[in-house]
Amino acid sequence: MLTRCSHLAFSFLLVAAVALSGCAKRPATTQAAAPAPTGAATSTAAPTGGPQQLQSGGATGGTATPAPTTTARPAVQDFAAVADLTDVYFDFDKYDIRPNDAKTLDANATWLKSNPNHLVLIEGHCDERGTNEYNLALGERRAKSTMNYLVSQGVQANRITIISYGEERPQCTEHTESCWAKNRRAHFLVKPR
């Protein structure tokens, strides 16, 4: 059907942004590695318009990368916070232990030495400034600096596990300096051996 008009009209071409929704649900897939500690099954939804759907035949298989094995790590969800261990904080883009925080860590080390049956997980965190990947590295350095300090105070290194959350788990979500200062931290969790 033809639309007719008596004149040429100057107009904007609307950007077509109609999301033709619909995603084919795929069966749950299993992880190549060990079962998820959360027990959550992972399923993968195929986005519409996937390139394989234009291909003939399923291109499954291919080269399998050997999953690198690693030293056993304790399950993260087994750890819990304990009131005796106090967080320490860091300056922006820094991972050295500040003098006041050294005193906090001394107290933490004393507690850990008097509770030798506990393993400790040190979480390294960043504020939202800086960028994602760099902050994962920065959080790692903060957790590591904290670990090194505790080891220097006589805590056995093999009791300590570290994990970086980068900027992914802020304690405080406002966009202010006081909030950011709270987020640049090392946090302690413990579990019995």
Binding site: A19, A32, A36, T42
Partner: protein, 437 residues
């Protein structure tokens, strides 16, 4: 090549709207004035013609709009759209339409023809030269897809038009992967490059970060906390195939970057004490260490030749961009002053885009020799996490200029900044796919 002719002839906006007689016309014609540039090619994109099958969903109109939007997005064209499709097999009405479009300033005409057979859709593009009086056809090509992927046919038609005029296919038939959700609960979503059809690619309820496409556009590497720790995985979103675990060492397993040949993956591990850059050979699992430095070394990005990598290091203080060769030697510092992160090497090889943090984050671009650093975003919230389109002409990035994180796209000179994601949630960390197979 047609390009030379058309660009030479392309004139500044010519005639204002002029009265036309309606009788006997196949289409009504109007011009898109949003482009505004005198150097763009004016291309007529009337509604696509249904050759056979029932078009119950208005596909002829929608797909012409999709193709038109692709051509506008390319930055190369101003689209002259029209209502009403040209009837099939009617050369006289087709010629009449081209005459009218040419009178309205169009330099080229795109005629799309759709054939529906069962659940298959065939789309044919026919490209006409409207500058010469005979309006001859200069190219034609057919594409086929399941009818559920009709938009891909429109994107492929647009990419073919771009190919005809520039010698390089367009980038409309691509995907963008990005991270959705608030902090603490992030999943990966894959959408068409224009934001259409977003679909979840992870559902594990943990934190999933930094998806990066492999060069064959069939897989993505990403960091996930689904096993508790930040480990590196590879997903195959278009196949019934489980994730591979790429790296699950003690410490962080982050910042994946596939080598251009797809055989290796550069990544950041802290298993040997502090964050360092390694290269994993995917076929064998062999891990090769590239950096040895007491500071943070992270965010490797391959050059398109595969001979060099850019990366971030705080070895001299604040984080800056460095370049090394693929063996980890010949390290040179590219930027200074910091806080510079997220280097992404241009597919053309001549420049790198990166993020500068001052009071807020903005995107900058610098030549590979470190010269001519220039700012691409300015004064509109935070802008970071850039990813190149495969042709090196566009960038996608994350911006919170509208109050929440969204994925934006722009031309590589910083112009034409437009949001891609429009939903209510947060969208970050985009990765633009290579052209789909």
């Amino acid at each position: 090549m047609v390009l030379v002719t058309f660009l030479a002839l392309a004139a500044p906006w010519s005639s204002p709207a002029q009265q036309q007689q309606g009788a006997g016309r196949a289409t009504d014609v109007w011009m898109n004035v949003t482009g505004g540039g005198s150097k763009k090619l004016n291309i007529a994109v009337p509604e696509f013609t249904i050759v056979s099958g029932i078009d119950s969903t208005g596909m002829g109109k929608v797909l012409a709009q999709v193709t038109g939007a692709d051509l506008t997005f390319s930055g190369l064209f101003s689209v002259v759209a029209g209502t009403g499709a040209i009837p099939a097999n009617n050369p006289a009405l087709l010629e009449q339409s081209w005459t009218e479009f040419a009178a309205a300033g169009a330099h080229a005409g795109l005629h799309g023809l759709l054939t529906m057979r069962g659940d298959r859709l065939e789309g044919e593009m026919r490209l006409y030269d409207l500058v010469t009086p005979e309006h001859r056809m200069i190219a034609s090509k057919k594409f086929e897809a399941p009818i559920g992927q009709a938009r891909r046919v429109a994107h492929k038609i647009a990419d073919e038009v771009v190919l005809q005029f520039t010698g390089e296919p367009g980038i409309a038939d691509t995907k963008i992967a990005y991270v959705t959700g608030p902090r603490g609960a992030k999943e990966i979503t894959i959408a068409d490059y224009d934001g259409a059809g977003p679909a979840s690619a992870t559902h594990n309820g943990s934190i999933n970060l930094t998806p990066v496409w492999s060069p064959d556009a069939r897989s993505l590497a990403y960091t996930s906390y689904k096993q508790g720790y930040p480990d590196l995985y590879r997903m195959f979103p278009f196949e019934r195939r489980p994730d591979q675990t790429l790296a699950a060492f003690i410490g962080i397993n982050t910042s994946p970057s596939f080598s251009p040949d797809g055989k290796s993956l550069a990544l950041t591990l802290s298993k040997d004490g502090n964050p360092e850059i390694y290269v994993l050979t995917l076929a064998t699992g062999t891990m090769r260490r590239l950096t040895r430095n007491a500071g943070i070394d992270t965010e490797p990005s391959w050059s398109p030749t595969g001979r060099q990598l850019a990366f971030v290091s705080d070895r001299n203080g604040a984080p800056n961009i460095f370049v090394m060769d693929a063996e980890g030697t010949s390290v040179r510092q590219l930027t200074s002053g910091g806080f510079h992160t997220q280097p992404r090497w241009s597919p053309k090889g001549d420049s790198l885009v990166y993020t500068v943090r001052q009071s807020v984050h903005d995107l900058w671009i610098v030549n590979v020799d470190g010269s001519n650093p220039r700012r691409l975003t300015n004064g509109a919230g935070n802008n970071q996490g850039a990813t190149w389109a495969p042709n090196g002409r566009h960038l996608a990035f994350q911006s919170n200029r509208n109050g929440r994180w969204q994925i934006f796209a722009m031309l590589a000179d910083g112009s034409a900044q437009e949001p891609i994601t429009r939903g209510p949630g947060e969208a970050t960390s985009p990765s633009w796919s290579p052209r789909l197979p």
